[in-house]
């Protein structure tokens, strides 16, 4: 069994900007896979297009760098055809919440057993810093000709409203916490979503590492910065739906939505919502196809030599006159 982080790294040259938050995310994924001792050939990482799209090339597991906005369709198709795979999908906030927003919502409804990370930095980095869907209204990051004219989307709230059954937020510079969140997300049976705050050192000069650490907000008494980031678990917050009742579910959804609106001075990280009771897509499939998990599409035997062994005679009988 492999359990060495180095085994999950490739030798591909990494061309992200120095100081990019993406490095921390890749490390966290590698550490999570090593800690979980997932055999490399049983894991697949799918990525969208943009800086985060290159993530799949830096992990030594099956790596599928898909199209802009389409990481969820590709990855869900693979997971559904081969449920034995551990599937992790990654992409930027423009990828997942701009061009791919329709897939985001539909994936939530489906609840396929996999994990999706959004590298959230508020800008389209690879095309030189245009405003992305998570950039707040009125902000003017350094390469914008005019302040952002659109409202921002709230990824956590959107995930909750769409039916994701595990919704969390990590921070690219807290690799340990992020690794734990990824592990929890992978272990969760159903679709887990991680909104990862990932400062872009090149194009987002507002939501910077210093900004998240509160360097602009010094406590006059102690002369120390007041960090914006805090951990939900430190506040006694309980994200888990414990009993199968609409009341319990509503309560947990509502508190998560309220928490998801915190920004500016206080930004929560950790698990916002977790529902292990809701059925995942594969569990729903079992009701229709009882041997779906033992004999999934990827492993079905369809021929003997070049002869078809699927028996369609009953269907043909029905059509005969």
């Amino acid at each position: 069994m492999v359990s060495n982080v180095a085994d999950y790294k490739t030798e591909v040259h990494n061309d992200w900007c120095p100081g990019c938050g993406d490095f921390g995310i890749v490390s966290a994924i590698q550490m999570a896979m090593a800690e979980m001792e997932i055999p490399r050939h049983k894991a697949a990482i799918f990525s969208g297009v943009g800086c985060s799209g290159k993530t799949s090339h830096y992990l030594n597991v099956y790596g599928i760098h898909t199209l802009h906005g389409r990481v969820l369709p590709f990855s869900q198709g693979a997971k559904l055809a081969n449920p034995e795979m551990t599937v992790v999908a990654v992409g930027g906030d423009g990828d997942g919440l701009g061009i791919g927003a329709g897939h985001f919502v539909a994936a939530g409804r489906r609840n396929v057993d996999m994990t999706y990370l959004i590298f959230n930095n508020g800008v389209y980095g690879l095309t030189k810093g245009q405003a992305s869907p998570t950039l707040k209204l009125g902000l003017k990051t350094k390469s914008l000709p005019e302040p952002n004219v659109n409202q921002s989307v709230n990824p956590i709230a959107l995930a909750i409203a769409s039916g994701f059954t595990f919704v969390a937020r990590g921070y690219a510079y807290d690799v340990r916490q992020l690794k734990d969140l990824i592990i929890a997300g992978i272990k969760h049976r159903g679709l887990s979503f991680l909104d990862v705050l990932q400062p872009c050192p090149t194009y987002n000069d507002i939501n910077t590492r210093d900004w998240f650490s509160g360097m602009d907000n010094i406590d006059e008494m102690t002369n120390r910065p007041r960090p914006r980031i805090y951990k939900l678990e430190d506040t006694g917050y309980d994200p888990i739906v414990h009993i199968d009742s609409p009341e319990e579910e509503n309560e947990k959804l509502t508190q998560a939505l309220i928490k998801s609106n915190e920004w500016d001075s206080k930004i929560p990280t950790g698990i916002f919502y977790q529902n292990d009771i809701a059925q995942s897509y594969d569990q729903r499939m079992l009701e229709r196809i009882p041997n779906y998990l033992e004999n999934p599409p990827a492993y079905q035997i369809i021929s003997e030599g070049s002869k078809s062994i699927s028996d369609i005679s009953k269907m043909l009988d029905k059509l005969e006159i």
């Binding site: 050939h41 790596g63 599928i64 369709p73 590709f74 198709g77 081969n82 897939h103 699927s310």
Partner: protein
């Protein structure tokens, strides 16, 4: 006995049971050994708009519709207004007698353009704008009228069977209309009743009630009316004949050849296939545990093809099925499959474009788009089936092409085939083969590389989950492992490696799978897809009239089998291109690839399929040297 060949048409509002009626009629005829070719026409609408179903019946194989109706059946006014004029002079109209006084103004579903044409026509015959006017016009031409009061029949039936419920069962008038037709046409009642039973097989009580009604109406017609001029009679039944709808061919082909993942977004006429697959999702497998097809309805067609690619990467045979608008959305991902050498089958049930176009009508509109969809240069196969039977066997071939050459394959079908109900030989799954090419089951070498050079350009293919088989894919150009590479030499290697598969396909795919030669003559038809049926029927008519014409049906449209087609055309004097689109899209391919140009075009883009007799007329005109370079066909309501 002289040959039988007649066309029965039933019309009515959408949702009013027209399709059920036609299926009963087709089943009753097919049950007597007769050959059946039926086609449904409908509006993009759920309830109320006019739909109709034409069934051609013969003792010989029929592959198309004719221009004209032998017996028209209408229990609503619109059917009479729209079709009375198409009834042959020696044909008949069976209609609800209550309708006589209805004026064109009272039928709100008659569109203004049609209404104006009809009223002009009735004026020219000095007739009022009523059903009676339309019927009298037909009668003057010689058409026999059979007025029927369906209401009265229901009433009598209700009294005789002591079942008051029946009096108000107006939905049953379609069964009554079919039964009266069968009576008038002289077929025995047994097959009619059997057909009623099988159409309503899911609900025993309803089946019984309908059988009673059918029997009653059948007897009523034989007693009340004199026999119709044309009579059908049973002929010896061939073994193993099915009455199948076109879309069932690709569905059954997919199950038989091991497609185990299908994703789709609802669209007419393609989704019938996916619904069939889902309805039959559990698959019996010889000497093995049951298999299954996982059918996923996605949020859009972009997702549908994305999921297919993901599923195919795991080694499962995977496909999607769509129509023009959905295919447009799939273009970007098609290129991704091309650059990453991912096998997939995209079944393209074409309809009339552009845009939503005529959403429920026929067209061969997407050939050039299928060949060019997606940006950049990448290999694909575009393969077209000509009818229901071909649809089954070609599906299996398309999956083999996809696996062998590791490419996307676009299987061209269309609305005409999809909604055709016809008698076909039972599909024979032992005639299909499953060739998975270089798909690996096991990898021992430690340094596997997905895109490693190989003499034929096709590299051994790993699949997600295989030990030692890790690879990378990217929409960027990539190196042998699949990591991004912008190196110019690597670029040439990868581009040429991929494109070489097209030469390989042309070399390896048997000629008879590339094009079908039905005979060569001075005048030679070149066509593709569902025009096959009307063309073959027209050729028979031409031969009888003393005209000779050749026909080549091109099945593989990309890569284009230039050499083979060129060789067949040696000695041919004139090429006639026949297609159901405006531009003559295959004609453009012929002009591009052959060392000669198309001489004549016969095109149709009304959304209605070609009939054999309009083709007969237009081909005859060409041979008689009386035709323009381009003829546009128009028949159909």
């Amino acid at each position: 006995m002289s040959s039988i060949d007649l066309t029965w048409v039933i019309g009515g509002p959408q949702g009013g049971g027209v399709e059920t009626a036609a299926n009963i009629f087709a089943g009753a005829c097919a049950g007597c050994g007769l050959k059946v070719f039926g086609k449904r026409e409908f509006y993009s609408n759920i309830k109320g708009e006019h739909s109709y179903f034409g069934v051609r019946i013969s003792d010989k194989i029929v592959r198309s519709n004719v221009s004209g109706i032998t017996m028209l059946v209408g229990f609503d006014a619109e059917t009479i207004f729209r079709h009375a004029d198409a009834v042959f002079d020696d044909g008949a109209i069976v209609y609800e007698s209550d309708l006589s006084a209805i004026k064109t103004d009272e039928v709100h579903t008659l569109d203004a353009q049609f209404k104006k044409r009809l009223e002009t026509y009735l004026s020219s015959k000095n007739k009022p704008f009523t059903i009676q006017g339309a019927l009298d016009t037909a009668k003057e031409r010689g058409v026999t009228l059979y007025p029927v009061s369906f209401k009265e029949i229901l009433g009598n039936l209700s009294d005789e069977t002591n079942n008051p419920k029946l009096r108000g069962m107006f939905r049953m008038q379609n069964v009554l209309a079919v039964s009266i037709s069968i009576g008038l046409l002289g077929l025995p009642p047994e097959t009619l009743l059997k057909s009623v039973g099988s159409v309503f097989s899911r609900k025993a009580e309803i089946a019984e009630m309908n059988k009673t009604a059918a029997n009653y109406a059948y007897n009523f017609s034989t007693v009340k009316y004199s026999k119709f001029k044309y009579q059908l009679s049973p002929i010896p039944k061939e073994d193993h004949i099915m009455l199948a709808q076109g879309f069932q061919s690709t569905s059954l082909g997919k199950i038989a050849c091991g497609c185990r993942f299908q994703s789709y977004y609802p669209i007419t006429p393609a989704s019938d296939e996916s619904v069939f697959l889902e309805s039959n999702e559990i698959i019996e497998v010889e000497n093995n545990r049951p298999g299954s097809t996982l059918v996923v309805q996605t949020e859009d067609e972009i997702s549908a093809i994305g999921m297919v690619i993901g599923a195919s990467l795991t080694g499962a045979r995977s496909s999607t099925s769509t129509s023009g608008p959905g295919f447009s959305l799939m273009a970007e991902a098609l290129g991704w499959a091309g650059i990453n050498e991912v096998p997939l089958v995209l079944t393209l049930y074409q309809r009339s474009g552009p845009s939503t176009g005529l959403p429920t009508r026929h067209g061969q509109d997407d050939l050039q788009f299928a060949i060019h969809a997606g940006h950049g240069d990448f290999p694909r196969i575009v393969y077209a089936s000509g009818d229901t039977e071909e649809g089954f066997y070609d599906t299996a071939k398309c999956f083999n092409f996809a696996d062998i050459y590791q490419i996307p394959v676009i299987h061209m079908m269309d609305k005409f085939i999809a909604s055709t109900v016809s008698t076909v030989k039972r599909f024979d799954p032992t005639k299909i083969t499953i060739e998975r090419g270089k798909l690996l089951e096991k990898i021992d070498e430690p340094d596997y590389k997905r895109f490693r050079p190989s003499p034929d350009g096709v590299s051994p293919r790993s699949r997600l989950g295989l030990e030692n088989g890790i690879f990378w894919n990217t929409g960027d150009e990539s190196d042998e492992s699949g990591h991004i590479s912008e190196d110019p030499e690597n670029r040439i290697y990868k581009m040429d490696k991929r494109e070489h598969k097209m030469e390989l396909a042309l070399e390896q795919i048997p000629k008879e799978d590339q094009a079908i030669n039905y005979g060569i003559s001075d005048y030679c038809i070149l066509s593709w897809g569902s025009t096959k049926g009307p063309i073959l029927d027209a050729i028979e008519m031409l031969n009888k009239a003393g005209y000779k014409v050749g026909f080549i049906q091109i099945k593989m449209l990309h890569p284009f089998p230039t050499k083979y087609v060129q060789s067949l055309l040696t000695g041919v004097k004139k090429i006639i291109d026949i297609e159901a689109n405006q531009y003559g899209q295959m004609g453009s391919l012929l002009n591009e690839y052959l060392d000669r140009k198309v001489d004549y075009y016969i095109l149709k883009y009304t959304g209605r399929p070609m009939t054999c007799d309009e083709l007969f007329d237009s081909i005859k005109k060409i041979i008689d040297n009386k035709a323009e370079k381009k003829q546009v066909l128009k028949y159909g309501v």
